[in-house]
């Protein structure tokens, strides 16, 4: 009860702007995963959508997440990783439904991670994910070759209808052809929206953020230059790296990109992390929010790894899903929201 009181007092005292986030709530931990799938060390990289029409005013929130399945090996230096789907009605913890993609005998023999979700319809979603393969066991005749990072995978989630109080969904196998195959290096955290007839994908490639657009989901060109370069902000919150972008559209000519920023010391240790916002009308020219970063670990905010920003109510409320490492070294998923966050009215990232 005390916690509830503190939360209400704190959030009520906050102004109604993206930077005014309340007390974080833990929403998913490795121990919550169905049948204990994964190796119990991490959940992260959330991709979130709301299925508005299916809930009778209490729509399910769908969350794709990554988890590690096995530890690092010679074949897979980052370990093997898969993607699961969790959901919730109302507030509180997410309920896991188990894995939807696990490493397979294809271009993602090691890793399927960093999911991003974009609505195609009122009942169908396209999900992209970062892929990694073992170059020593790859198919050398495949068009994407034997690079460890062969590009971005795709699969589909579709609502099937309901039986009583149960909502049924289908998730497809992974499309056989990755996209963005020319990137072929350690890029990640794709974030995709649909606006003005095209898919737009932002992704991190150390130390900057790139953006590419295409009317077809599988025909992106690899950009030659970053769209957002780290080390530009006067406040220096993204001095050494911009990463984990969240691309949002308010209209088909009014866009926001939320991104993580990092500062490293001379040994490569992260000494500060933040989340900032950039605005654009053309997806080419971006202006940093005049108020600087919205959250920053040096200000006592969480470490904010793998952050995904979600808006609600026509961009009046905001929810930031992110991963934080607990005292036992386990990565858990958290959510912090602004006062006007409305989980029943999450914005669809299609404009139109």
């Amino acid at each position: 009860m005390t916690t509830l009181l503190v939360h209400l007092l704190t959030t009520s005292a906050l102004a109604q702007a993206p930077g005014d986030f309340g007390i974080p709530l833990k929403v998913l931990a490795p121990a919550d995963l169905l049948n204990a799938w994964g190796d119990g060390t991490t959940v992260g990289s959330p991709a979130v959508a709301s299925h508005t029409v299916a809930g009778n005013g209490n729509p399910p929130i769908l969350m794709l997440y990554e988890t590690r399945i096995t530890a690092a090996s010679t074949a897979c230096p980052a370990g093997t990783w898969g993607i699961g789907l969790a959901y919730r009605f109302g507030g509180g913890d997410f309920t896991d439904t188990g894995p939807v993609v696990t490493p397979d005998q294809d271009f993602y023999t090691c890793v399927a991670a960093h999911p991003s979700i974009v609505a195609l319809d009122n009942d169908t979603w396209l999900i992209y994910f970062k892929a990694e393969q073992d170059p020593d066991t790859c198919n050398p005749k495949a068009q994407w070759g034997c690079d460890r990072y062969p590009g971005i995978g795709r699969f589909i989630l579709q609502y099937n209808g309901r039986n009583g109080n149960v909502l049924n969904y289908s998730v497809t196998s992974v499309d056989t052809t990755p996209v963005l195959t020319q990137v072929a290096q350690n890029m990640g955290y794709p974030s995709v929206m649909f606006a003005d007839g095209e898919f737009h994908m932002a992704y991190g490639q150390f130390p900057d953020i790139y953006l590419t657009s295409s009317a077809l989901s599988g025909a992106y060109n690899t950009p030659a230059y970053p769209s957002l370069t780290s080390g530009i902000s006067a406040t220096g919150w993204e001095e050494d790296e911009l990463y984990t972008p969240s691309l949002l559209c308010r209209t088909n000519a009014d866009f926001a990109l939320y991104a993580g920023g990092r500062i490293y010391d001379s040994t490569g240790t992260i000494v500060d992390q933040g989340i900032g916002r950039f605005d654009s009308t053309d997806l080419s020219n971006w202006t940093e929010d005049a108020n600087g970063p919205l959250l920053r670990s040096s200000n006592g905010d969480p470490a904010l790894r793998h952050a995904t920003m979600v808006s609600s109510g026509g961009h009046t409320g905001f929810g930031l899903f992110y991963t934080e490492t607990n005292t036992s070294g386990i990565n858990e998923m958290w959510l912090t929201t602004t006062l006007l966050w409305d989980r029943k009215d999450i914005d669809v990232q299609r404009c139109p």
């Binding site: 507030g91 009942d123 699969f155 209808g161 139109p352």
Partner: protein, 169 residues
Amino acid sequence: MIWLALILACAGPTDQEAPTSAAPPGATAPDVTVPPAGTDPTGGSEPVPGVDPTELQVQRVQGSGALKVALVGFAVACEADDAWMAVEYVGSPTDVSITPYIDGVPSTAIRMAPGADGVIRTTEHTAEVAGCEQATWLLELADSHRTRCAVQGPDAEALLSQHPDCQLR
């Protein structure tokens, strides 16, 4: 306790997060009567009054052939009067067609061949379309369950008014 009650009553109009797994104030679902089990015939396009879902189940399927038809991507490019069209979709449509409109007048619909099997199926077609650069395009996909369509081009909003269920691209 009175203060707490006042705070709860003034917690705000939106459905915010609460720091416990319990539903937040004002979010308690009314008592409902769950109808007999059966697949929702609307396929999810409409809510079912009086029923609050409480559970979600996911099944894995191979490819997208068993899915309801849905449009993924749609592109048209013109070179003089030659039109190149590409459509990405999921499901098993019985018909994929594109109709060019010039000055609001439809030309003959162009039937697209089925895309290669896969999850996201892509079909491409090249055709001569007089006035290609000025054309507005109506894409229609249909299976036995439903139709999906999209419009794009300079008069897309006008065409959308005649096909209000279509996506604007």
